[in-house]
Symmetry: C2
Subunit: 630 residues, 2 copies
C-alpha cells in the first residue's frame, strides 16, 4: 500500500506485512533505532491515526507507551506491520524519532538600527513609607522612576496592583520595575535589569519561526521553528479559511493550534538557553493577513470573499495573558500592521527590513513562499502585489519533491558532456528534490536543450529520458545512487508545476513594472526574500524566468526578512513607527482585475518568457548551449 | 427575648409566643400586611437565620415560599412566634416588606460645567468595500469618523474586532460608533446617537449611591441607593480590612458583594426608566480609600497598618467586563484618584464639586460620615485631614438611636416654658432618634442648662430627668407618645457618644486651622457635606462645637458632594483632569502624629469647647438662657 510520511510529505510503497521501520528507511528517512528493530530501545516512535491498516500493539509497545500515548496513536515503527496491499496509510514521524535537520532560513538581512526597545528595566531602591512620607505604593515607584530617568506620564498596569503591596514589602523595597512604553507592567525582586528578552515571531502558512532576542544588546540568542500545525487543515490559506467558516469553533481551534505551537517554541528556546520565560517582556509578530487574523482570533471570512478586505489593518498591542502566550503575563504582544487582504504584516516587515522605502534606487523585492509578495518602488512610493505561487517551491506538487531536509537534491547541473551533477543536503544519498533543486533542473534542462521554451521535452533520445504513462520524464538520479531504491525522476508534470509557480511571480513583476512605468533595466536592486530564496541559483532563476533578467550583481538574497522586520520592530520604537508609516506609503495592486493579467500570465509560462528580447542574458546562454545532445 | 431588627439596627423586647409581626409593629416599624396577620397576603416577609429560636413553618408559609427561600430563612412575620424568654434573635426585614423611605442625600451641590463627556456616539453611513476601495473594516470606520469629526489617532478596541466584520455587513454599513476618548469601544445598528448614558457611583462605608445620567444633556435620570452589603462584615472600615486579611478569599468576597450590589442598583435604575444597560458606556466611581481598594480587588491590608499608605493613588480606567459591572461590556470604569490612606476618591470629589481649590476665599469643608474628612484652604493650597468620627451621627452607639428613616426624631427643641418639641421623619409616632435629632438634643440640653460644658447632667430635679443604673437620662418622648410603647430617652452615655464624635471633627478643624495659621474669623466659607450634613441645624452644630463658631450666613450645606464630584467627572474630561491636579494640590495631615492632638481632642470634648472665647455666639446664647429650670 501507499504510505505517506508526514511531516516531510513523501509517499512510499509498502508490501503487505512489511514493518514500518523498513518502510521509512526505504524512503531514505534516518529514523532512530538502536536495538536492530526488536522493540527494545523504543526510539523509532511514529504516530498512526488509522490503526485498522496495521498490526495490533505488541507487548513491548505496551511497555513503552502510556495509555494516553496509545490513544494518541503512538507505535514503534519496528513493531508495526502493514496489513493490506492496497490503500493509503498516513504515518507521522515525530521530530524526536529523526536526526535530520531541515534547511530553513530563520534569519534575514538586518539593517543597522539604534537599539531602543519599548521595554525598559529600571532598578529601584525605594524609600520606605513613613508618617512623613505617605505616598501610595504606585506613586512611590512612579516618582522614583521619574527622578532617575525623567520619564513622565507613567502609568501602572492594573493587573499588578493586586500583588504590588505584598511584593514591595517582601522584596524590602529593592525592586526592578519593567516598563513597556510608559506603563509599568511588572516588578521583580532586586536588580534584574540585565535579564531582558523579547521574541520575534513569523507565522508563515507553512512554518512558524521564532527568535529569542536579548533586548539589551539586540543579539539573537536562539532560533527555533516548527511546521505550522494548521497544515492538516489545508496546505493553503483558502482551505483553512473555509475550515474556519464551515466548522463550529473552527477559528478557535486553528487559533489555539498556532498559539500552542508558539508556546512549544518558546519553551524550547528558553530551555536550551536556560532563560526564564517570565523575563520575556514583549513579542513582535508578523504573518500574512490570514495567519494574522486567525492567530488573533479575528474572523478571516472576508479575506476569502471579494473584495478580500481585512478586518483590521492597524498595528495591535495586546497583553500576552489575553492572547495566551507563555511569557511574562503582562508582556506586550505587538502585531505589525497589514496592508491588505493579501499583503500582510510579513510584507510590511519585508519592506521595513530591506529599507526600500528609504532608498533613492528603484527596487524590486520578491518574498517567495506559498503566497509570494512582490514590491516595486523606492522612497517615492511602493506598489505591492500578491500572487498564489503555490507550494511547488516547497517541494510539493512535484513527484519526487520534498522539503529542504537531509537527503534532498538542492543543486543540479548538466555538464558539457551530458554528465549530471547534483548535491544533496547533508551530502546523503538522495531521497528527493527540494525547491532550489527543481529550479536548477528546469533551468538546466532548458538551457541544455532537453525541453523547449514551453517546457516540453524535445530530445527524447537521451538515455536519461524515459516515457511514462503520464508523458516523458528525466532521470535525475539512478536507482542505485538513491536511498529510496528507485530512480528519482523529474517529469513533464513537474516541469509544468514549476512553470505555473514561476509565471505567477513573474506576472506580478511585469504588471507592477508596467504600473510603475519602468523596465527591467530601471531596476537598480533586486531583493529576493523568503526561507526558500537564499538557496536559489540566481542565474537559473533568470534562466527559467522566475525573476526578471537583471545583472546578477544587482541581486541580493536577503533571507527571512519577515522575521528580521519583526526583530527590528522589537528593538526599536522608531522602526515600529516606520512600520505604520510604510503601510500608508505602499499601494496594493489587485492583479486579478488588471485586463492584461491573463495575457501576461500566459506569456510568463514560457521559459524564460514569451518575448526573449526581455531576457538577453538567457538568449546568450541558449546560443552557447553546452551540451551536445546524444 | 431581645429581637434585633436589621437593617435599621433597633433592638426590641419580645414576649414568649409573641408573633414577630406584632414585635415589629411594637418597634414602630411599618411592616406591610394586608390580611390582618392570618398569612394570606404574604407581604410581611422577614428573614431569620437561626430558626431554632422560633416556631416551625406553617402551611401558609410553605405555600408562599419556594424551597430555596425557606432555606434562605424566609418567614412570614405574622406566622412566626418567638419560642423563648431569654436570648437574642436577629431578624432581617427586607426592603419590600417595609413602606418607609430612608432620608438620604443622594445628590449634592453641582457646579456649572460644560458638558463634554469622554463618550461620544457618531452615526456613520460607511462606503461599502469594493475592488477600488480595499480598506480594512477598522480603517473604514476610522476614516469615516476622522472625516466627519476631525478626530485623529483613533484606535479600535481589540475585543470588538471579532464581531465587527459580521456586524458591519449585517447592519448594511449603517452604524453608530461609540468612542471613549479616542478609542472605538463598540458599534451599534443604525443611528443610536441619542441613547448615551453614564453612571456616577459613590461607594460609602454604609451605603452605595448610584445616579444614572444622560450624557447628552447631563441630567440625572434616576437615583438609587442600597446599604453597603459589607456591613455584616464590620460596621467600620478596620473590621472589614481585618476580615479581608484574616479570611481566605475575603477580599474577593467583599469585592463581589459591592459589585453585586451595584449591579442590582443598575438593574433597578434601568428598569424603572426603560433604559438598556448596554447604552451605559461609562461609570465614574468614588469612595474612601478602603472601599476603593476592596471594590477594585486591591489588597487593603496596608491601609490598616502604620503608616497607612494606599497601593495606588492615581485614577484608574478599566473595562466594565474586567470589573464585572453589567453595563456595556466595553464601557470604561473610571475611578477617581485618592489622596491617602484616609482621604479617598470621595474626598477628591468633594473638593472638586465644591470648587474650593479655585476660590480666593478661605474655605473649610467638612464631609461628615462614619469617617469624616476636613479640608481647609483655597486656590493657594489645601490641607486635608481625616478623623474617625464614628457612627453616632448615623444613630449608632445611641440607645434609642436609629438611621434617618420614617419615625426617627430629626428635630428637637425645648421651649422657654420647658415644653419639648420634636419632629419625626414622615411625621409618624417616634421610634427613635436620628443623627440630626441627637445634635439638637445635646445642644438644647446644654444651652438650656440641663447639662454642663462637660456634658454632665446638672439639673436633676426636672421631671424629664430620670435616674437609670447607667446614670441620668432625659426623656425625649413619653411612652404614650411613641410607637414603641416605652419612653424614648437620651442618656449620659448618649451625650458622651455625641461629644466623642464631634470632638474628633472639631479637633481636625482646629489643628488644620493652626497648620494653616488662621482663625475662625478668617474662614470665609464653610461647606458641610455628607448624607447626614444637610439635616443638621447649623446653630445647634455650633452650640455643641461640632463646627467652629462662624456666622451662619457663611455656612452652606452641600449634600452628597462625593456623588456630585463623580457626576461632573463623568460629564467633563476637563473636570477629570482637574481631579488629578487637585490630588497634587492637597496636602494630607496625619493628625495622630501632631503633638497637640491629645490636648486638642480633650479640649474639643467640652461643649462647645474648653475655651469659650472661641465660641462668642454660644457664650451669648448661654447668657440668654431661655428655660427657667423647675
Amino acid at each position: 500500500m501507499k504510505v505517506i510520511l508526514e511531516p516531510i510529505g513523501k509517499i512510499v510503497d509498502a508490501r503487505k506485512y512489511e514493518d514500518l521501520l523498513k518502510v521509512c528507511r526505504k524512503a531514505g528517512i534516518n529514523i532512530l533505532s538502536e536495538c536492530g528493530g526488536i522493540g527494545v530501545c523504543g526510539k523509532c516512535k511514529i504516530i498512526i491515526k488509522d490503526q485498522e491498516f496495521v498490526s495490533k500493539h505488541t507487548g513491548v509497545e505496551k511497555h513503552h507507551f502510556s495509555k494516553e500515548e496509545i490513544n494518541e496513536g503512538y507505535r514503534l515503527a519496528c513493531q508495526t506491520k502493514v496489513l493490506f496491499t492496497e490503500g493509503i496509510l498516513k504515518i507521522i514521524i515525530p521530530k524526536e524519532s529523526i536526526s535530520e535537520k531541515r534547511k530553513i532560513q530563520s534569519i534575514g538581512f538586518e539593517r543597522e538600527i539604534q537599539i531602543e526597545p519599548l521595554i525598559k528595566k529600571i532598578h529601584l531602591i525605594l524609600d520606605k513609607p513613613s508618617l512623613f512620607d505617605l505616598r501610595s505604593d504606585s506613586q512611590r515607584i512612579i516618582d522614583s522612576i521619574m527622578k532617575k530617568y525623567n520619564i513622565h506620564n507613567l502609568e501602572i498596569n492594573f493587573d499588578i496592583l493586586k500583588d504590588i503591596p505584598n511584593l514591595l514589602r517582601e522584596y524590602d523595597w529593592n525592586v526592578t520595575a519593567i516598563l513597556w512604553n510608559n506603563k509599568i507592567i511588572d516588578i521583580e525582586k532586586g536588580d534584574t535589569s540585565k535579564l531582558m528578552y523579547g521574541l520575534a515571531i513569523d507565522i508563515g502558512t507553512s512554518k512558524i519561526v521564532c527568535q529569542l532576542i536579548d533586548l539589551i544588546n539586540g543579539e539573537t540568542v536562539n532560533i527555533a521553528f516548527e511546521e505550522n500545525p494548521q497544515i492538516p487543515y489545508g496546505e493553503d490559506i483558502m482551505s483553512r479559511i473555509t475550515y474556519v467558516i464551515t466548522k463550529e469553533n473552527g477559528l478557535k481551534e486553528l487559533s489555539s493550534l498556532v498559539k500552542e505551537s508558539i508556546n512549544k517554541l518558546i519553551e524550547k528556546l528558553c530551555l536550551e538557553k536556560n532563560i526564564n520565560p517570565n523575563n520575556i517582556y514583549e513579542a513582535v509578530i508578523v504573518g500574512n493577513t490570514a495567519m494574522h487574523h486567525i492567530f488573533l482570533g479575528i474572523q478571516p471570512k472576508y479575506l476569502a470573499l471579494a473584495p478580500y478586505v481585512p478586518v483590521i489593518s492597524e498595528s495591535i498591542n495586546i497583553s500576552s495573558k489575553k492572547i495566551g502566550l507563555n511569557i511574562n503575563k503582562n508582556a506586550n504582544i505587538h502585531v505589525l500592521p497589514v496592508i491588505g487582504g493579501f499583503v500582510g504584516a510579513d510584507a510590511v516587515a519585508d519592506v521595513l527590513a530591506t529599507g526600500i522605502y528609504e532608498l533613492d534606487e528603484m527596487c524590486l523585492l520578491i518574498d517567495i513562499g506559498t503566497n509570494s509578495e512582490v514590491f516595486i518602488g523606492n522612497k517615492n512610493g511602493i506598489l505591492a502585489a500578491s500572487c498564489a505561487s503555490g507550494p511547488a517551491f516547497e517541494g510539493m506538487q512535484i513527484k519526487y519533491g520534498m522539503k529542504a531536509i537531509s537527503g534532498a537534491i538542492e543543486e543540479f547541473s548538466i555538464k558539457n558532456n551530458g554528465e549530471v551533477i547534483y548535491k544533496t543536503i547533508d551530502n546523503l544519498k538522495p531521497i528527493g528534490i527540494c525547491g532550489s533543486g527543481a529550479v536548477d533542473i528546469v533551468a538546466e534542462l532548458f538551457i541544455n536543450g532537453f525541453i523547449d521554451n514551453r517546457g516540453r521535452f524535445i530530445d527524447i533520445k537521451n538515455p536519461r529520458i524515459i516515457k511514462t504513462d503520464k508523458g516523458y520524464a528525466y532521470i535525475i538520479a539512478w536507482k542505485n545512487e538513491t536511498a529510496i531504491n528507485e530512480d528519482i525522476t523529474f517529469s513533464q508534470e513537474d516541469i509544468n508545476a514549476i512553470q505555473l509557480a514561476k509565471s505567477a511571480i513573474h506576472t506580478a513583476c511585469v504588471l507592477l513594472m508596467k504600473k510603475m512605468n519602468i523596465n527591467e533595466e530601471d531596476i537598480d536592486k533586486l531583493f529576493i526574500a523568503g526561507a526558500f530564496g537564499n538557496y536559489l541559483n540566481p542565474i537559473n532563476s533568470i534562466n527559467i524566468g522566475l525573476i526578471p533578467d537583471i545583472p546578477i550583481e544587482r541581486i541580493s538574497f536577503v533571507g527571512n526578512t519577515a522575521i528580521s522586520g519583526a526583530k527590528i520592530c522589537l528593538l526599536s520604537k522608531k522602526m515600529r513607527e516606520e512600520a505604520s508609516f510604510i503601510t500608508k506609503k505602499i499601494k496594493f495592486i489587485e492583479l486579478a482585475t488588471d485586463p492584461e493579467f491573463p495575457k501576461e500570465l500566459a506569456n510568463s509560462m514560457y521559459l524564460p518568457y514569451k518575448d526573449l528580447s526581455k531576457y538577453r542574458s538567457v538568449e546568450e546562454r541558449l546560443k552557447n548551449r553546452k551540451v551536445t545532445n546524444f
